[in-house]
Symmetry: C2
Subunit: 354 residues, 2 copies
């Protein structure tokens, strides 16, 4: 820890391995292809741990990430984002080297791809199963128009139907999440049955950490794509997706000042390190992270009564009971369990693996 | 604009110049040193525009930023952040080359600096005038202890008292902001008077964009350090610090999908590009940015009734009336006027200056 001079992501590789092992096993028991989302860690090093568990298919959320992992020997990548038609050169370049799968939700996009692709790609039609962020309603007439085009496409191989049930992040409790999962399965299975005669190889692909973590199994889906589970975070803990002990990353931050008279610690660690993602804590206040003490093997349980209460660009403010606060001085390190590890990991370029 | 393939910060240099000109003039009329905060743009190129207006003293918020600007010929830098004692090597390195000023708010920090500095630095004592983020209350006994130490320090030159009245960001209307400014002036002036005999050269330094923008003049302060004004943003517009036309940056984002049935446009532009900073709009909903149309000279007025309503890691969701939405297709560009330009500029590495 002495090598840490500024806000740094500390990764506990034992916890990462345990998280991957658990999800790999669940996918296998469910008979589903495991295609984890790599947007959470965006790290070739963490990717190496996945390889130990036999993972060779991955999901990313941008062409840039696909390029990065394709350049690091990942040969089968799905970009789970409405394809960015302004990056055709990059897409053609990647598709000429590896198996590349894209997402579309309009005839317009398919026509554009057909006219501009120089290498073969796979396409999933994105279905909206209730999150209402992207995707087509299963009743949308656009689906029929798209599949008609895909029957004769030369450059595009139709792979099936894909969804992200992101509304699981707004669900209350396991029951509501499992209802979302069952509804998604029902909707996707219906579409698969409808188009199976014309496209005998199509699959249905599902993924989000809350439902993949809380369901005993994910059977009924051909593929699952959770991502956040590799690190988990305070938000997932609050959903019930994980225990506090499963959280595999902390942001190590130097103490800048301590203020006993207002029970506050100022840390070097702000919105540009942790992101402004927060949850509303039981007391009604905004919570930007729990506070832990770092040691040579990792970190402690959260300090009782302590939490990150405010963030500006570079500053964080920790509320902390006096008896703990008195043990801290400027220049000491504290750890922050992040609210949303995907965003924190994206921001903190410096990483330390323990 | 055709060169833009992914989320990109577009900077209107004419607006940037106008914003700098206005603030430079206000500082001069107030008889205050103008030491703008460079954390907003973090850009050597934008720094060059400041030089045209005679600026040669700057503020930054991290040792890393100080290094960056020191390496690019800026010779007088204040790091307006409680000094990070874990970066003494970097601090000594910068202080050996340029005029470097730091902030302290404890005897502990001064003792540590005195023991570890190998080059001379300036020190401001950080005063809390009501924001309660960092700094000492003007009545704190720590101030007397610190000034006593500073009388005999060999490596530290005491520069005076500095504050950031960040509570101006929570103020309602110009009157409340001007009250904050007057209160800050009163508190800092009192401290200056008290210690002027022992330290005849000390100054008082003040800075935040809302009050420096809304006050007719900043007289009474020896130095001002606003930063955000160089770009402004939707939040500052809502405070009344600027007009919509003063906002000098937009994030250009590719359209991923359009959904007429729910009046939504999905853009490639999410929390990792814009940050999760938001304001609560008049209708009670979260607003992550206004939407503009880009053209070769810059961008349009905000599209009436359109706003960025939701952000996930890479996706943004725009709510937009049908008549405007129908003119957009996947692969087109839209512009987002950011809620907090400092965070958006920090995230978007790709920039285009027009």
């Amino acid at each position: 820890m002495n090598s840490i001079h500024k806000p740094t992501l500390v990764i506990d590789s034992t916890k990462v391995e345990a998280n991957i092992r658990r999800m790999t096993k669940k996918a296998a028991q469910s008979g589903a292809i495991f295609r984890p989302h790599f947007k959470t860690h965006q790290s070739v090093e963490v990717g190496t741990i996945f390889r130990k568990f036999g993972v060779d298919k991955i999901t990313v959320s941008s062409v840039e990430m696909a390029q990065y992992f394709a350049n690091n020997n990942w040969g089968d990548i799905t970009i789970a984002f409405p394809v960015n038609l302004r990056e055709m050169d990059e897409i053609n370049n990647i598709a000429s080297k590896i198996t590349l799968n894209l997402l579309a939700e309009s005839v317009y996009t398919l026509d554009f791809l057909e006219a501009h692709l120089s290498a073969e790609v796979g396409i999933f039609i994105k279905i909206d199963v209730g999150y209402h962020r992207t995707g087509l309603n299963k009743e949308s007439p656009e689906i029929e128009k798209m599949t008609n085009l895909l029957k004769t496409s030369k450059m595009i191989c139709f792979l099936g139907f894909l969804t992200h049930a992101g509304h699981s992040y707004h669900a209350r409790g396991k029951d509501e999440i499992l209802t979302i999962l069952e509804s998604a399965k029902h909707q996707l299975t219906g579409l698969k049955q409808k188009y199976l005669d014309d496209f005998p190889e199509i699959i249905i692909s599902y993924g989000d950490t809350p439902s993949c973590s809380m369901a005993e199994a994910c059977s009924g889906f051909d593929e699952i794509r959770p991502g956040n589970f590799v690190y988990y975070d305070v938000m997932q803990y609050h959903f019930g997706s994980c225990s506090l002990n499963d959280i595999a990353v902390v942001a190590a931050c130097p103490v800048g000042a301590t203020h006993t008279q207002r029970n506050e610690v100022v840390i070097y660690g702000g919105a540009v390190h942790l992101s402004k993602e927060h949850i509303i804590a039981d007391n009604g206040f905004k919570l930007f992270g729990y506070v832990v003490l770092l040691n040579e093997h990792g970190w402690s349980e959260p300090i009782p009564g302590a939490y990150l209460s405010e963030l500006s660009q570079e500053h964080g403010i920790i509320r902390m009971p006096e008896k703990y606060l008195k043990q801290l001085n400027p220049g000491d390190l504290v750890g922050i369990l992040p609210v949303h590890s995907c965003l924190t990991a994206n921001l903190l370029k410096q990483q330390l693996v323990i």
